[in-house]
């Protein structure tokens, strides 16, 4: 039986080596090393202040590390140190090959601009110069994230929280990125809305063969979305492994505490 090739690709997409970030005497993040492969979903879990958001910013080149480095395999197949990219290259990467889903959709959307233009912006930014085609593509993406196409001309400020989050996902995925960063993507949503969003993300990730790095404090999100988990505490990765392994057979005291704190389903 043939296998989808991206799952067995042996070339890592993103490599972190000895990453650290200090704010004065405070180490927000230290000695983080791992490799992420195409199509792989990695969850970074830990409580507030554990360094997971700092790590996400380091990985997505929004923050310069105090030590260590992050490398990314560009579309030409060459693994490049992100610190060595020019700003234009970095921003281009951010608009095309990467996505970033913020916890607060207002940070990732233009709230006063129509949904269609929100989705179309990345396309127009890479040179799409045809209104009809841009709009058609935006419609297709609204459908994929289960937003009524009749709302294409409405601004997200008129949308519910769950719709905004789905719109943000569409806006990010329209350029078919290979890697998506997500910062607490279901935070602040009702439980029923969360379930729908998670299911949608799970399907999109597997259909598109996306790699993703998801920061979450919600272990249920990690279980449903990710292949692999990194548990952070005090800026350090204290445990890592297959998601079901870490959650069903946690080894570290802190991980056991996290797991035991979940209410049974």
């Amino acid at each position: 039986m043939s296998e989808p090739s991206h799952l067995d690709n042996d070339e890592p997409l993103l490599v972190a080596e000895g990453l650290a970030k200090n704010y004065g005497p405070i180490a927000a993040c230290r000695e983080v090393s791992f490799a992420l492969y195409p199509g792989e979903v990695l969850a970074i879990v830990g409580e507030s202040g554990s360094g997971k958001s700092t790590l996400l910013q380091l990985l997505s080149a929004q923050l310069a590390p105090s030590a260590g480095r992050v490398s990314y395999r560009m579309r030409d197949g060459v693994l490049r140190d992100l610190a060595g990219l020019g700003e234009a290259e970095r921003r281009f990467l951010f608009r095309t090959d990467w996505g970033f889903v913020h916890q607060d959709p207002a940070q990732g959307l233009r709230m006063a601009v129509s949904a269609g233009a929100n989705v179309g912006e990345r396309l127009m930014a890479v040179g799409w110069n045809h209104y009809g085609r841009t709009r058609d593509t935006a419609s297709t993406w609204l459908e994929r994230v289960e937003i009524d196409v009749g709302r294409i001309d409405d601004a997200p400020k008129t949308y519910s929280g769950g719709m905004r989050q789905r719109l943000q996902i569409a806006r990010n995925l329209v350029t078919e990125p290979r890697l998506v960063f997500m910062d607490e993507p279901t935070g602040g949503l009702d439980v029923s809305v969360q379930a729908r969003l998670l299911d949608l993300m799970r399907n999109l990730v597997s259909e598109l063969g996306l790699a993703a790095i998801v920061v979450t404090h919600d272990l249920a999100v990690a279980r449903l979305l990710s292949h692999r988990v990194m548990v952070m505490k005090g800026g350090r990765v204290i445990e890592t492994g297959l998601t079901d392994q870490v959650l069903d057979d946690p080894r570290e005291p802190y991980t056991q505490l996290l797991v035991s704190s979940i209410l049974p389903p």
């Binding site: 129509s114 233009a117 179309g120 045809h130």
Partner: protein
């Protein structure tokens, strides 16, 4: 008694040199907004303080100055700026587009084709075309630096989505020399094609915003659009009521309180030249004649 004496063209020489340096840089980088140390002028912001400073910096004793406001030589703004330079620089002034060497304008480009050696100075309220979607100046400057202009098309997209066509009718964004996206000041988009490959030097001054930018002579200026919604000029579909011109930009004038109206050239010099050459519209320029008889 002597009237108070001003330095030539009001501004001191050091200030004029500073502005000229900004202008030179602006010419060297077409469409790029050069910051400059805008001075307080003896008129309020919004009355063309940016344009006035640029004009003051480039004016020489032999120049012939024309000032228009919405195409007209005889509105308050145009008259007071013309008087200002008449008084502080003693330069000759004119209403003729062809005779002028420096034309300061608010919101129009003259109908008559500009020729080499002329300078057109625009008064600019908001120089940043990206501002309405991206309010952070740090971010818009970075976007210009990296030529990230997808946002301009977002604006045009919104127009089409909302109105079915690109409804932006003035301050229609252009790309200069295939590099910088520029706000042409609130001129009607009818005038946009006149900026392209223009023989005259075009200078833009924003006083409150402290920016100067330029289009050197014979520079490519393209209005942004979509392949399936190309740029179109717009004018009222009527001939000028006074001179009969069917290719000039028209002002709509309400003539009574029963819905009566007429369309006349916004460029008063153009219209008067045509009338002097014997062209007539459906209406005579009767109000002027009546005035003349009083």
């Amino acid at each position: 008694m002597n009237a108070p004496t001003y330095n030539f063209a009001y501004l001191d020489e050091q200030t004029k040199r500073m502005i000229r340096r900004a202008i030179l840089k602006a010419i060297a980088i077409p469409g790029y907004q050069v910051p400059f140390a805008s001075r307080e002028m003896p008129m309020p912001y919004g009355w063309g303080t940016g344009g006035v400073q640029v004009t003051a910096a480039i004016l020489g004793p032999d120049d012939v100055l024309k000032v228009i406001d919405q195409g007209s030589d005889d509105t308050t703004n145009a008259i007071s700026i013309r008087k200002f330079f008449g008084k502080t620089a003693g330069v000759a002034t004119t209403t003729s587009t062809t005779d002028a060497t420096v034309i300061q304008t608010r919101h129009r480009i003259p109908e008559a084709e500009l020729h080499a050696g002329q300078v057109l100075v625009y008064q600019v309220p908001i120089p940043e075309p990206l501002r309405f979607l991206e309010p952070r100046e740090t971010e818009t400057r970075r976007m210009h630096a990296l030529a990230e202009y997808g946002l301009m098309h977002v604006k045009l997209y919104e127009d089409i989505a909302r109105f079915g066509h690109i409804a932006t009718a003035y301050a229609y964004p252009v790309k200069v020399n295939a590099r910088y996206v520029m706000d042409p000041s609130p001129t009607p988009k009818f005038d946009n094609p006149k900026m392209d490959n223009c023989a005259a030097l075009q200078l833009f001054g924003a006083g409150r915003e402290k920016r100067i930018y330029a289009i050197p002579p014979y520079t490519t200026v393209v209005s942004l659009d979509f392949e399936d919604h190309p740029f179109t000029r717009y004018r009222f579909d009527a001939p000028c009521a006074l001179c009969g011109a069917d290719n000039s930009y028209l002002d709509e004038i309400v003539t009574d309180d029963r819905g009566g109206r007429m369309f006349v050239c916004s460029d008063t010099d153009f219209c008067e030249q045509r009338q002097a050459a014997g062209h007539h519209g459906t209406e005579s320029a009767a109000p002027h004649k009546e005035k003349a008889h009083v």
